[in-house]
Symmetry: C3
Subunit: 498 residues, 3 copies
Amino acid sequence: MKTKSLLLLIVLLWPLSVLAAEMSPVTEECLDCHRTATPGIVADWERSRHAQNTMEEAINKPDLKKRVSLAKVLRPSARVVVGCAECHTLNTKEHKDTFGHNGYEVYIVVTPKDCAACHPTEADQYTQNLMSRAYGNLNDNPVYHNLVDTTNGIQSLEKMMTSLTPPNTETNADSCFYCHGTKIEVKGKKVRDTSMGEMEFPVLTGWPNQGVGRLNPDGSMGSCTACHTRHQFSIEMARKPDTCAECHKGPDVPAYKVYQASKHGNIYSSLNKEWNFTSVPWVVGKNFTAPTCAACHASLITNDEGDVVVERTHRMNDRIPWRLFGLVYAHAHPKSPDTTIIKNKAGLPLPTELTGEPVAKYLTDAKEQEERKRNMQKVCLACHSTSWVEGQFARLDNTIRTTNEMTLTATKILLAAWDKGAASGLDQNDSIFNEAIEKKWVEQWLFFANSTRYASAMAGADYGAFANGRWYMSKNIQEMLDWLNFKLTETKKGKKRR
Amino acid sequence: MKTKSLLLLIVLLWPLSVLAAEMSPVTEECLDCHRTATPGIVADWERSRHAQNTMEEAINKPDLKKRVSLAKVLRPSARVVVGCAECHTLNTKEHKDTFGHNGYEVYIVVTPKDCAACHPTEADQYTQNLMSRAYGNLNDNPVYHNLVDTTNGIQSLEKMMTSLTPPNTETNADSCFYCHGTKIEVKGKKVRDTSMGEMEFPVLTGWPNQGVGRLNPDGSMGSCTACHTRHQFSIEMARKPDTCAECHKGPDVPAYKVYQASKHGNIYSSLNKEWNFTSVPWVVGKNFTAPTCAACHASLITNDEGDVVVERTHRMNDRIPWRLFGLVYAHAHPKSPDTTIIKNKAGLPLPTELTGEPVAKYLTDAKEQEERKRNMQKVCLACHSTSWVEGQFARLDNTIRTTNEMTLTATKILLAAWDKGAASGLDQNDSIFNEAIEKKWVEQWLFFANSTRYASAMAGADYGAFANGRWYMSKNIQEMLDWLNFKLTETKKGKKRR
Amino acid sequence: MKTKSLLLLIVLLWPLSVLAAEMSPVTEECLDCHRTATPGIVADWERSRHAQNTMEEAINKPDLKKRVSLAKVLRPSARVVVGCAECHTLNTKEHKDTFGHNGYEVYIVVTPKDCAACHPTEADQYTQNLMSRAYGNLNDNPVYHNLVDTTNGIQSLEKMMTSLTPPNTETNADSCFYCHGTKIEVKGKKVRDTSMGEMEFPVLTGWPNQGVGRLNPDGSMGSCTACHTRHQFSIEMARKPDTCAECHKGPDVPAYKVYQASKHGNIYSSLNKEWNFTSVPWVVGKNFTAPTCAACHASLITNDEGDVVVERTHRMNDRIPWRLFGLVYAHAHPKSPDTTIIKNKAGLPLPTELTGEPVAKYLTDAKEQEERKRNMQKVCLACHSTSWVEGQFARLDNTIRTTNEMTLTATKILLAAWDKGAASGLDQNDSIFNEAIEKKWVEQWLFFANSTRYASAMAGADYGAFANGRWYMSKNIQEMLDWLNFKLTETKKGKKRR
């Protein structure tokens, strides 16, 4: 009995006794100073798996339990834990932000290319992810770029008309590009006074930033820390919806809010404290009892017998048949993650015509959409019957169609406004985003139709009803019409202003 | 000492050793397949009390600890746990969705009538709950039905005027009726390929749905899983505000948001991880230190000595003197849960006149209101002094009066718009919800006055100030007036549009 | 081995064995009745440190671990725990709400002056905190007072014009003054029937209230329970952002929402269940891995070696260089917590001119701003590099400048509206908040510019982009211009209304 009770105690206490694996001598040297200089992130790192496992240990796990995707150990460093030096001194030659630091060459910005040393499959999938192109897809598309300018720019008043000064890069980095990612470049060096005396550091533009499509000093795109937050790199965090919420919460893309208002979100909020967020693979029913964002869109999920429900993916639209995010209308996902290549018939860089027709050439076809839908439904079917799931997806199809129709009506009013000279648009070679009725039009698809579609997709009906949903779609159309009529009345009195 | 340490260990480890009670042979057979077919919900159910307790055990608890309301054991099945078969094969004859499935007659949609087998008091109270009538109260009331149509319908543009196509049932199921409940009907059968070969299933319309007033295939109304989520049926979940939030969060009824902004919500958010959400009865101060929605509106609460503070109820307005949800004005709760019977003097199916007077005949009287208030105050008084509680309720009374006055002012502007021909309303036999000024009027009472009243009732002042509260009530009146004047200007120029 | 396992058990179980310290006889007598009368708050108090520690114990801790700031024990009561009597009978002579209660003189409203008996430094700092003056700063400033009146007042319609009845004190207590604090006065006495028979109690106006600038019956200002909620007085709660959210969540000051959308908020939401919220001092990296509101603005923070990162402060702007909350423009923090003394050149009681220039005389100078910035940056630097932190603060500077420019543009449109007679403002001796265009102007700075600045300061970009951020600043200017033009059209037709 005595022995047994002791054994039980050992089992109970085991998790407390984490034996530190060996660090590389360089990492040890980093820590010598940084324990004092930046205690917060060192403590974070010490909690991470990176601090507790060597690459060799990680690679020798059974396939389903693996968190790395490298096939075999490639370098001697595989026998030490993944510390400061293992990430920040790995590819110094490719990094323009490399600098001499206490006798070592180190760089500041760790990138997907660096993470690929151990996670090559994930890094590769991510290059196929729209997100990895989020900087260029926004910045290099003239239409979207103009939306950024008219949103973030400074309007001045002169003679009762406004003129626009485009936003500077600091403003953009604080707004759209916080999520889309900034362009990080090295602009010289600077000597700073530190607790260790004077030291020289590179000066970076676009810094700090952890946006999903960041342009990095080594030429790579993206930022793994957008979701796998430094320096704990907690899989628990990546699997919790709060992480996605950083960029998927606003009125343009209220995925998080919709989730919180859904039954899934309700279960999560009420019961997740009992779930296991760190297990790999993630076992449905056992580790979690309702999906989070990650469960549906990214994670490797199995049942308790180890059968794979869905595979892990870092191309986030692998299980998404439709791009609900209207540009201007909801449409099939683009084939290429680089959407700057798209041109519609009217010559605009948009995946749909202004009147709604998809620009099929650049978009995934029906067969691919069907396959993605089937993949997503595998997750649903782990808990729900086929009739439940079919009913759910039929509603989404209906919502995509009806919201697109409501966007079309709003667009027709806008086209009339341009046609009647109440506003200046494409024909006048003017911005399509800078006047009040144009901004109302944007809200129709970017806020209200999007919100309604997300609400339908994730069954968080509030956001398809009164909370930025159908109520606002319906009201906005009446207000656009009224605006147009008021404007025509005003115009006829001989006063035209912008 | 050895023995003592062992005893301590047993106490520590006891909760881990849940001994499974016996399942019925039919349930065992269900699980044989469904463990693989739908592992998520089976795992959920295994965590539930239903899987761990027999009806007999449940019924033999002391009164205050009972979670069932049946007086005595009525059937042999009382000696097995409540599994698949106990719920899905109980009343097959009444269920139009019953179908042959692997040699058994089963049905899909478990209803309040089924739950009543063990929880008859709760099911009965629920039939007196407004919520149980949420489908008909919305759908069968011509005024509210028109609000649904004008909100969810598709507007098309022709000759610079909009025409409305009413929403289809899929759209409505995705919007208002997600919470109110759909009408579930069996429309034929369908053979599906399953992992067990070809099988035939009923085809249901209005499915999936878990709305509170669902019309079920057995003729009953409501859905217990709206709050007691399948298949864990966790009382913890029903007691947490996230559950109510699914339907009480939007701008029309921001109860959850108000709670979160209140001191009660603050205590809950900060400290609830230490609370006991599963104890029956729920002991104030010991199990929880601030009320959740359930504590004030539904739960059985006692003090630590076992004295009842308030009784359990599933007629949610038992402790509510006022219906804060304005239709059009806040008013005493209707006597009958079926509100389609109400008609005001003007012949409209509304509990108040358009000018604010309550339609007293259909509403609870002052005495009943007083009693409900006293019941609610019993909860408050478990922590607060009488003078605190009286101060709180005096403020609510004041807020009901002042918000109703602000609704009246908005209504007068609307009536003027109709009168002056700037909009078409009752006299023109036109919808009262389809024009811009009418939609602004709706927001006055449905969003802003409601929000302000909830804020006052639950002391979450933000929602009575700048967050959809008094600020917007005040602004909206000015905007309604301006709209009317702009419209009259436009109209006088000979252009009348809708 | 046996002994060791026993020792381990003792260590494991130790936290469960809290030995109650001694209560004063008077407190014991209070509890005799109040355990039954108000069981919730008694249970709350029993969980508090006040119930478990004597003043003597509290004062004898090492400096960094101290939660009291009194230098030495001053009174015999230091040997009992801090119970009912220790707070509610301490300064009866100064309290106008003192009354005879079961043979004792007690008062209802415990104030900062009472808390100062043990926490004098905190109470003193708090008198230097803007918050302590929140009642007068709002109520006694004619401009802000008018904002309250026009927001909370009742508008009536007569002859198609609105007239305003100022709000009563109940309405104000339910709205602005819920957070700002009410004025609590004793208006007579009242005999109540209690479970102990008839008893007499003072009648208080402005009660209940826990606003930060409450005017108390002992002449003091503020309410410690606004953040240190009665009767648990949990430091965990004060350190969690939900507490600040009660008043810092609305569209005027969305600090909580911004935090939730930031990386810091993401880390908090995902991982805080593992943090230690009760340790004093609060050790960065060890007790918490991302800052909460308290970490940046109030708490004493050290590293694991006990070096102080930042000192505890209850003057909340000690580490804030800018007052982001625009009145009308963002500006340096006022020198005095009493802002009613401020007058700008135009004679308005505002810290900036209507055209944006700061009223330097009343505001902290650049040197003081720099010092506050340095203090804040000490927190940042516990995890981030200097270049990261400098980049972050450069963005905030940019955002302050650009949002102020957008406020100026909106103001110019308003000035034009007044000038052209489209609205009535300062020159007409009319409210500057009561017309539609004036309310739009208020939203420009109070909602949209504020939101954008908070988003920048705390890196929650959503609220600087589409969520009440730059999108709305930009749209609002166009709508203000349109309103002005529509109004001028209407006016020219000879119909002037307000």
